[in-house]
Subunit: 600 residues, 2 copies
């Protein structure tokens, strides 16, 4: 379902319902540009990568957001998917609060989107604006001040002094004896411009603190309100502010609802998505990566990255291999082994009955679909179903499932099917016959006989609201490529990837770090195989990584030999560490000094 700016308010309840009813939510974004275009680093530090992503969130915008809810339907034995697609554009044409936003666009990013038939007119003409949490708070604080008349005094122009005096006299006369004036219930002061209005408000506040000035078109009416009336008036004004704000919050409502649901949020290679979602809709990202982790975990308490699952699970890797791009995962999980569970598009969500790759809503749908298949596969691997009757035997190329006793309880939990064989053709025929019965079509009720696809739901959480054991290891860890870490961890410290062959080079003169003689260093390392050198951060090229494609020799021996070579060429002040040693030091520092490490 694509929801435009014009439909947004009227569709909020549809969105809320989908989020509230569902088992989990998959998300995806399309961006106006990517971080550090043209950068080609092979190895990066965690802090450096985070800083890159943070800067990207300050430059570029999410221009399309997609999410897809997946809801188990017990009666039909399948999941129902509801994919939503939104264009996001910070238009200033709706509502009374209009932040003026300037953001960056990367031509190559638009070229990429154009290849996927992205509709840039829908983006600008129908994209939904938003207010961040921070912006909303600031606006409300400002409005509260205004309503409480808590404004600084302004000076009275010489030529307006008479105007103010006349007004004061008129008000004083009414105060003295309202019944003697034309209008017993209040007194009106005509004003010609905003300046005069401001002066009247100010004067009433100062000279008649028990009266209230109310703006009207062309004049100000001064009345005496009871405390109750005053309270009512303030409440009305604050309600109006709240309404304006509510309108302006716009698309952020969707993010707020997803966050408040505390449901599992699934993405594919999702670190950059999460950074952009938080930076654009919640608040500017903190400088410190640990602060960011805390914030992100608060917003989305259970994140799962399908790319990380495939990279980290040996079972999935041996089945799927190294191709963890979303399209590839979709292809792989289309195979017989990943048949469970059955997933259908909800009837009101027909948009993706045909493929629409790289539309955020579609990619979110595919991500969630893949997640269900991967999860189910892992569950089946952990607790294989009982062996089949011979005529239903599994094809030869498939590995024989490990035979294992399934406890009665577990069997009950999985429902009355065998867990993944849903090819019940007889049942299917019956369903078709049924839907041909016109009487039944018009007499549907809760007791209706629905066709059951017989697929199995594996709960994502256990009774204690802990993620299910087979996926627990993947929750709140996401892929982080081109670093020496196996993943980015929202909860804990990252684990080093010991398979990377690399060295960390620094100027050993810590007093006056100078740029490294990169060419000489690389030349010496190149004796041991193909390698490249990358600067390690924004520190004036005084540190670098040398990364090997495939180092056959012992890293410590290579290190010693290169150091000897440097000495022979009289190159001084260069320090070399193996990557393992380097990252151990970093993690040690991080754990000991806590957040201090992030300022290194």
């Amino acid at each position: 379902m694509e929801i435009s700016r014009q439909q947004f308010q009227s569709k909020i309840e549809t969105i809320r319902e989908a989020i509230e009813e569902c088992d989990f939510i998959a998300v995806d974004t399309e961006l106006s540009g990517l971080h550090r275009p043209g950068g080609s680093k092979r190895l990066d530090t965690l802090d450096n990568r985070y800083t890159e992503y943070k800067e990207a969130t300050e430059r570029f915008q999410i221009i399309q957001f997609g999410f897809c809810t997946f809801t188990w339907d017990e009666r039909s034995g399948r999941y129902m998917a509801k994919p939503f697609n939104f264009y996001i554009f910070p238009t200033g044409t709706t509502g009374r609060i209009q932040p003026n936003r300037v953001f960056m666009t990367q031509a190559q990013a638009f070229d990429f989107l154009a290849k996927q038939s992205f509709d840039f007119n829908k983006w600008v003409y129908q994209g939904i604006p938003y207010l961040t949490v921070t912006e909303e708070q600031e606006y409300i604080a400002e409005a509260r001040k205004r309503i409480r008349d808590d404004l600084p005094d302004i000076r009275i122009d010489e030529k307006e002094k008479l105007f103010v005096e006349d007004a004061k006299k008129k008000i004083a006369k009414w105060v003295e004896n309202p019944k003697k004036t034309d209008d017993e219930s209040g007194v009106n002061i005509s004003t010609r411009n905003a300046y005069q209005r401001r002066l009247i408000y100010q004067e009433v506040r100062k000279s008649f603190p028990d009266l209230t000035a109310e703006g009207r078109t062309g004049f100000i009416r001064i009345v005496r309100l009871t405390e109750k009336q005053l309270e009512k008036r303030t409440n009305e004004q604050m309600a109006r502010v709240q309404k304006d704000c509510d309108d302006a919050v716009g698309f952020r409502k969707v993010i707020d609802m997803i966050s408040a649901s505390r449901k599992m949020v699934v993405g594919h290679n999702m670190l950059l998505d999460i950074c952009h979602i938080i930076g654009q809709f919640i608040q500017p990202l903190p400088d410190n990566v640990n602060e960011f982790k805390k914030l992100a975990h608060k917003v989305f308490p259970y994140m799962v990255d399908t790319k990380y699952m495939c990279a980290a699970s040996t079972e999935l890797q041996s089945r799927i291999g190294a191709g963890t791009a979303l399209e590839n995962l979709r292809f792989e999980t289309n195979q017989e082994l990943f048949k469970n569970p059955y997933v259908d598009m909800s009837i009101e969500f027909p948009r993706y009955l045909h493929d629409k790759e790289h539309e955020a809503g579609y990619d979110a749908y595919i991500t969630g679909l893949v997640f269900l298949k991967l999860h189910s596969y892992l569950e089946i691997q952990a607790n294989p179903p009982p062996p089949k009757a011979p005529e239903e035997e599994i094809k030869q190329e498939e590995p024989e499932p490990v035979k294992e006793e399934v406890p009665e309880e577990e069997r009950k939990r999985r429902g009355n099917t065998d867990g993944w064989d849903v090819s019940d053709e007889e049942g299917e025929d019956a369903a078709w016959l049924e839907s041909d019965n016109e009487d039944d079509q018009f007499n549907q009720d809760d007791e209706e006989d629905v066709y059951n696809y017989g697929s199995t739901r594996y709960p994502l959480f256990d009774q204690d609201r802990q993620p299910a054991s087979v996926i627990a290891n993947y929750v709140n860890k996401v892929v982080m490529v081109r670093t020496a870490f196996l993943y980015f961890d929202f909860i804990d410290t990252e684990t080093i990837d010991h398979t990377i062959d690399a060295f960390y080079i620094t100027s050993s003169n810590t007093q006056q770090p100078s740029p490294l003689p990169q060419a000489d260093i690389l030349a010496l390392f190149a004796e041991y195989g193909k390698c490249i050198i990358d600067t390690a951060g924004d520190d004036n090229d005084a540190s670098a990584f040398v990364v090997f494609e495939n180092l056959k020799e012992d890293p410590n021996a290579v290190k010693e030999n290169v150091l000897k070579g440097l000495a022979a060429e009289e190159i001084k002040d260069v320090q070399i560490e193996t990557i393992a040693k380097y990252y151990e030091n970093v993690l040690l520092l991080r754990n000991n000094v806590g957040q201090e490490i992030n300022k290194e």
Copy 2:
């Protein structure tokens, strides 16, 4: 005529023809954002304004460019307009040279364009890319180096040493006696990757300087070329580079053609357009405003701003008034007094037979149309036509033209009409009759009897290629609002606008300039009327302008009184100058120190 990316190359000759044949060219741009959004300064310095515009050119992009040529057609006694409209998008999908561009977008600017039905899909899908002059030069220098084999040596990997030795032996064998080898005319070395190819090029260059290595698919062929063959080869390679470059230059060709034509370029409030055109298509704008003036004047030697004409000409002001917005000028010049000359859309350019306001091509057309009317009006005012016969007398509300003898020569120059009365109804009828004559329609030739609209062309240049006297004063001066100058002058120093009531305030402690106590200063000035205070530049609020809506008292007296007031409140280190004095100082400095002033 709207020209897309896909049509661009095939339409180049149509564009060239229009530019070459025309009398002048009107231009307009649409931008992805405006300089300093939300800024509300009432008074600005020239340098500050230029810096703002320069920064805007570095941030935002021209996303649509329009120009319209106007060509006098003697036979039909009218101008023929050819409006062109181009979307500009720096796509990386065409050609071999693909700069990766990142630019800013201001949501409010897109909102504005959306109100005019701007087509953002055409922008991204059909927008034409470009290469600046600077980028083209860099690319060609780089390619020349590559072709001349002028590349730095790379180190030979240990494991490739054997490969290189074998190749050398094979080449040496062929050199010794080509006839003894399989292939008398050259020797082929198979390569597995780019690294091996690079090594072979390098080795041939070093060990066989009289041979030439030529890349083929999967191998490198080494041959002996004569000097003539070598030259031919180099020329072919350079031609290929030139062709790639030519493709990549893209839309800049249009700007180059307009510039090379040295024709009059007309805009409306055109300073920002000119800044963006030069910054986006020629080279980054210089830091110094005088350098910019020189550069702009070199690119467009005769610029005319219709808004400036109307603001600066007392004749036009008394006729048109203060409303110098383009739509207003169009309305005003639609009146009887501005009937001359008659302008028609060229037959192949039907796009703007209906209005399309704020499409760049349309706005360029209207700008040129207005310019022709204004110019003609000024010519007629300077040399009124002879008085009419009584029955044709001018309506009462129109001012009686000053009676003046028109010299015989001048009358001849203007052609055989009276200069602005083209309501020759008899002739019009004749024309209609004529076009009904079918025989004639299919027998048109150069001698054909064309209906003459009888309007008058006033040349834009005199015999010495100097701008015509009635517009000479407006050439190369453009409107610059919210400054104390009457205009921005591309040739000369600007003139002060003495009608502005303002003061320039600085910290008089020039050693340690501190932020001014703005509120206190404003309070003292406010005694003399409505005024606002603006910081004057990026100098830590240590300088400011106080601008009055309408100051009735003598500025020098006000200055003295405010200084006294400051003293009474014990506010020190504040210096006050009247705006006239301030700008005189600035101009004096500028003239004396030349460009030094721009660094102030």
